[in-house]
Amino acid sequence: MSASRFLCATSVAILSACLSSVQAADALTIVSYGGQYTASQQKAQYEPFTRQSGVEIKSVDYNGGLAELVAQVRSGSVSWDVIDVEMQDLERGCADGLFERIDIGELPAGADGTAAREDFLPGSVHPCGVGSVVWSNVIAINDEAFTDSRKPQTVEDFFDLKSFPGKRGLPKRPNALLEWALMADGIEPAAVYQALSTPQGLDRAFRKLDTIKEESVFWETGAQMIQLLVDGEVAMSSAYNGRIQRAISDDGKPLRILWDRQIWNADYYAIVRGTHDKDAANRFVRFATGTEALAAQARLIAYGPVRRSAEALIDPVIAARLPTAKANLRNALAFDAKWWMEHGDAVNERYAAWLAQ
């Protein structure tokens, strides 16, 4: 319950404050999502940075969300220095004053000499953080669920229960889903957010979702989404490309990614306001978002580098599986975190109400 949440957040803040006074003064605490993702960061970014600069890095895992960070910053006992956040949390944390400002002018040029301003994908440098990897909301299918020669190819197919019968997996939060609903209903990617901003557009998106609601299974976590697909409980699902790619290449599961109108999103390195060593944190962010470090990470995990210069350094076979591959980006939509921050409250409540009906 919420009381324990508050308490939890406060005690985390107190605990980490105690711990931080023990750790070496020049160690940098970097917070990320853990698992294979953090493992790729450690190999590609943390360790090379320590070798180069001599600054020790202490890796801490979290589950996303900003509650703990808010507790730290508001209580003034900050023990985290750099945090890996997704676009929406970056936007929200930035509005909430949780992060230090970053100047794009200070970022180094790409390895091929391209200036930072051109090298980074549009939107991947933010006043509060620098992008590192591009991940993507995609539609994934279980190949075994479609025995005919004709398999789903597009977002329209996802909403077409007649031609492609089978359960659909949908997330419990509306992010990326409303966008697809509108695109499947004939709206161009470029016009999606504009349409969603109007009551009529929003109604239209929900009406489109209504058409598959009864045939849908709603998942809470990424792990559950994979499980549903692999067990055949759903034939197609809204999905994250990284997890699907891992299930395909590591576990040999018969899944497939539809890149049609993928909605790409990015993770950012942000510097926590009140960090004990702003200088070292800055140096780390610049290093970790450099061409080499990004390319090294993309070799380890199926997320695309935000620098165009890094793509050139990646094996073409791997590069083709990334959200940033040219073919995959053809009709992609960039996730608009600003739109979601502005409309999130109302849309989330409406989606929850829609789910509950």
């Binding site: 319950m1 919420s2 009381a3 324990s4 949440r5 508050f6 308490l7 957040a9 996303g64 969300g65 900003l66 509650a67 808010v70 949390d89 929200r92 930035c94 509005a95 909430d96 004053g97 400002r101 006043p127 419990k172 929900f206 609601k213 849908s216 299974v217 709603f218 809470e220 976590t221 559950q224 499980q227 067990d231 055949g232 409980e233 921050m341 502005e342 409309h343 999130g344 409250d345 109302a346 989330n348 409540e349 409406r350 929850a352 109400a353 829609w354 789910l355 509950a356």
Partner: protein, 380 residues
């Protein structure tokens, strides 16, 4: 005093967090802190239907310039937009134009010439606010202070609260029906049999939440163990597999499983405390087994039933992880929203208000149940 450690423990772990939560549900000084001069100025303005004095407009312009210099406009626009949609754009445009052109507020946007905008702003600067509680009750305070129901599409919290109570009530009823006979058997059992039964009851406590949930998914899903067995036994056709999970029944099944021990354990303790002579006496006085159960055993075990049932009910109200994983779209309960507003939307005021309502509900339920339980209390 020896109770000091205990009292401070209770204070730190119970009283302070709950008081903080209640306070956060009605106290919100974020906008007032961001707009100190405007807040002071608007506090004196109460002339509804008219614009505030020029001094207030100047104060807001000053505050916005100050925020812009320290890069904190977004903090204000984010919060104001939450109060009333569209304010984000208004405030950011105003801040930029104040910096770049130095124009007056009323020339930047016509909305600053509308008293309604100022009423919204005044409401936002009030540090003691009913807004979160109203929001949690699907109500909306209009700029003129009147209270309307929330837009129909956004009415969600009362519905979720209702569903949470419904789920808790159903889970409690099933726990009572399943748990009562089991508690009786457990209370009567001795030696090895008792050890085995206790082990069975406590099993849910010895497995982690995720293992438990995964096990249920494996068991209940369409391609799961139960459906496979039914299909291979020819009881149901392949096309007609039961949907046991990712719906309401999934929520109920898994919650009953997890919460059953909380009902059985207190009840069997009460049952064990009832000397066998009461039932013997009743039988010897001519009571048939059914009469003895109705008139003697059931009333005497009522305190245990009430204790177990209230425990299960209250725990059900706070449950959300398991229902979220196995309940599909019906697995959304009020606590999911509380967690969401704490973790993701950072709307702690609303989370606290929802928590307050849940707490009030639990308190009311405890009161009700304690009166109910009081009737059957055993007096030595």
């Amino acid at each position: 005093m020896l109770v000091v450690p205990l009292l401070s423990f209770i204070a730190v772990l119970f009283v302070v967090p709950i008081a903080t939560m209640l306070w956060k549900g009605i106290y919100d000084a974020e906008v007032a802190d961001l707009l100190p001069a405007t807040t002071r100025s608007l506090a004196l303005w109460s002339d509804e239907g008219k614009l505030p004095p020029a001094a207030s407009l100047a104060a807001l312009a000053d505050d916005l310039r100050t925020l812009d210099r320290s890069g904190r406009v977004a903090e204000l626009s984010f919060r104001m937009n939450r109060k009333r949609h569209g304010f984000r754009d208004l405030i950011e445009r105003s801040a930029i134009r104040l910096r770049d052109e130095g124009t007056k507020l009323e020339d930047i946007d016509s909305r600053w010439s509308d008293p309604v905008s100022w009423q919204v702003l005044k409401q936002a600067t009030e540090v003691i606010t009913p807004d979160h509680l109203l929001n949690a009750l699907d109500l909306d305070r209009m700029p003129d202070g009147s209270i309307n129901r929330q837009d129909e599409g956004r009415r969600i919290y009362l519905r979720l609260l209702g569903r949470t109570i419904l789920v808790a009530a159903i889970v409690t009823c099933i726990c009572v029906v399943l748990g009562y006979p089991f508690a009786h058997i457990l209370a009567a059992a001795k030696g090895k049999r008792r050890t085995v039964l206790l082990f069975v009851v406590l099993l849910p406590f010895w497995t982690s939440l995720l293992v438990r949930t995964t096990a249920w998914i494996v068991l209940l899903q369409r391609q799961g163990v139960i459906n496979e067995l039914l299909v291979s036994a020819g009881i149901i056709a392949d096309r007609h597999r039961f949907a046991l999970i990712y719906n309401f029944s999934g929520t109920i099944i898994t919650m009953v499983y997890v919460l059953l021990p909380f009902f059985v354990l207190p009840l069997q303790a009460v049952m064990r405390g009832i000397p066998g002579q009461y039932v013997k006496a009743a039988a010897s006085l001519g009571g048939s087994p059914i009469r003895v159960f109705q008139r003697i055993y059931l009333p005497m075990t009522m305190p245990g039933v009430a204790a177990g049932a209230s425990l299960v009910f209250i725990l059900s109200l706070g449950y959300y992880v398991t229902p979220a994983l196995v309940g599909g779209r019906t697995g959304q309960l009020i606590s999911n929203q509380i967690a969401f507003h704490i973790q993701s939307s950072l709307n702690w005021g609303l989370a606290a208000a929802l928590g307050t309502i849940l707490l009030a509900l639990v308190a009311a339920m405890c009161l009700l149940l304690s009166r109910f339980a009081g009737q059957g209390r055993i007096t030595p």
